[in-house]
Amino acid sequence: MIRTSRIHQTIGRTIAASLIFFWLHGNLLGRPAQGGVTGNLQGNYVPGEMIVQYKNHVGNLSAAQLSRNGGSVAHEFHYSPQGSGPAHLVKLRSGQDLESAIKAFAANPDVEFAQPNYIYHAKVAPNDTSYGQLWGLKNTGQTVTGFSYGTGAGTLGKDIDAETAWNTVSNCASVVVAVIDSGVNYNQQDLTANMVNGSYTCPVGTGTRGCDFVGTGDADPMDTNGHGTHVAGIIGGVGNNATGISGVCQTASILAVRVLDTNGSGTTVDIVEGLNFAIGTTAGKGNAKIVNLSLGGPSNDAAFSAALTTANNNGVTVVVAAGNATQNHNVTHDYPCDYTHSNIICVAAADQNYGIASFSDFDNNATVANRTVDIAAPGTNILSTYYGNDTVIADTFNTAGTLNWTTNVVNSWYYSNGCLNPAADLLYSPASFCNGTTPANGLNYIVYKNFNLSAYTDASISFNAWVQLKNSGDTWTLNSASAGGDPFAGGTTLLSATGPIDTGGLVAVEDTLSGCLTAACTVGFRVITDATANNLWDGAGIAYFSITGKTPATNVYSVLNGTSMASPYVAGIAALVKARNPSYTNTDIVNAILAGGDVEAAFASKTKTGMVADAFGALKYIPAPDGVTLTSP
């Protein structure tokens, strides 16, 4: 009988300890996967031995005949899974190739699956000092120190099963993983050994750790935001080095591709250039096979999509974050998650109990196959490496209830703690914003304050604003001035908004102050009204104002939340799978991750798979053989 078709089979979990096999029953069995093995086998297995599981219609006699066709039957399993046929440990003939033999057996329609006889070891947790905080790798129900989401505690076992996966592979150094982000602090103590060290052709100069594509770009992808360094640590923080954390890959090759600025923003141009560099295979390019994109935007972007197509053609797996706006992608799109390229895995955020994180985007499309959010991964209270130290300079606008910012006109800007509900320290202008009157026409009200930022290598500003202005000539503006004084007299405009507008409440605003790193730096706001009549309550209010000064360091870690943190878990798993199976295509890797997750009810109507990613599950995936010919007796 000759078979050449692809075979879809069911693989049962076989777990053995040190050459001893145990067939397990119940929910560990019957996980859907595809039979056969292709490519170069990696990991620990007994040379010259394979396990063959026959289907239940195959009798003992015919099974023995079939097995002997591959070699000698060394062991017949007495405890096969219910509903399955005989199972044999087969010793291959001398010189027979294991990979070819498995392919041949897997192609036989009488065979449920064929696989190497893997070697397992007792689990040993890495000795990283903060390993106990890493619930995503091993959830013991621990409370994460410095948590900012929920109670900080979780449920035993709700993790990506990293330790079991590490029994097979923990070293991903053969696979370049590109972190396309805000850069990476490649000097961080838990990252530096796992960074690439090459010769890369950057927009300007030659880089060793990657390249910087922000603006005109350069050869230094150093992170000045913190986000990219956090992402990199989740993927490939150095493991088992008695320091800090461990990544999903304990040993890795992280390529830093900086496309987001200090404020965490980047453009199509930055990203397309960075992505093309990362996936390029010519000299001086990144040659990455796994890419992580923990970023997003609302625009269907043809140039970005084209670059992702190139990545697909180059065999690159791209893992992306779903978004943090509790947004249903069946209703409101976000990209790159919603691109339909087959090499993209879009990841939602799971909490420590494997519920969906309150902020996580999702997709509840009734046609499950059309959902763009594929799978979830740990995304709350994630401890990882960080860029350096953040010094937060908070300002409440008042001293003993009196405004302590400088104004250009008396009684133009005000301080109040009684305007908003719930109460908050508020800087606002004009008086109408809080007392419900109608502001006069022709106002030009400025308020500003000095912040000494000379001690920092970078800084960002963060506040919440409520802006409501009626007319197109009404404006609200944020300026800064490195030389000090009135920032609207020669300063730099950072942000502005024009009427008609009503934010309908406070909205979070942040921007960079990288151009104001002086002792004299001033930051200020201005409200202008034109000659057209205004509405009641018009004006602008500012609350929760702070400036964050940044100083680099090599030993800093941080706890963050977000789908940005979930995506690199999956990128790390993708690297594990690729490292163990170098011949896997990006399709194989995507299939392995999407088939190997843990089914979780919270994601049943939220993602395509209804699963949370599982490293060990992904490693067990075996792609279907293609074009295999088997002649059986």
Partner: protein
């Protein structure tokens, strides 16, 4: 007089900048609770071309909008910077007549996706108690 009903504003949905007719601001207007405008870099477009036009040809074609610079991103893809930005719709209509035109799009803005400022969630309920709505 009743309490103002709060409109929750997602923290991602913010801000930004200069009036569309001016190039002095860094980005287009982006502030607004519940708004879902596309974000883009004001005055910057990505132009995909055919027929290998020179940079001078591209600059010349877009001269009515004062092309400040044209730089190649990859083969057949250029970043076009305009002093006077008429907006995506107008510039698309204008570009379609160019002999080298294949497509044009804004230079969109993307953001990192951490959720590290959880305080924003409680702020979404802020109201001005006495403002009628």
């Amino acid at each position: 007089m009743g309490n103002r009903s709060a409109v929750a504003a997602a923290w991602l949905l913010f801000f930004c900048c200069a009036p569309p007719s001016s190039s002095s601001g860094p980005r287009e207007t982006r502030i607004g609770g519940g708004l879902r405008h596309e974000e883009r870099v004001h005055g910057e477009y990505l132009l995909r071309v055919k027929g290998a036009p020179s940079i001078a040809e591209i600059e010349s074609y877009f001269a009515p909008y004062v092309a400040k610079g044209v730089s190649m991103i990859e083969k057949d893809l250029y970043l076009l910077k305009l002093e006077n930005d008429p907006g995506p719709e107008t510039i698309t209509d204008f570009a379609k007549s160019a002999p080298f035109f294949l497509s044009i799009q804004p230079n969109y803005i993307y953001r990192a996706l951490p959720r590290n400022r959880m305080n924003n969630e409680k702020l979404n309920g802020s109201t001005k108690p006495n403002e009628p709505r």
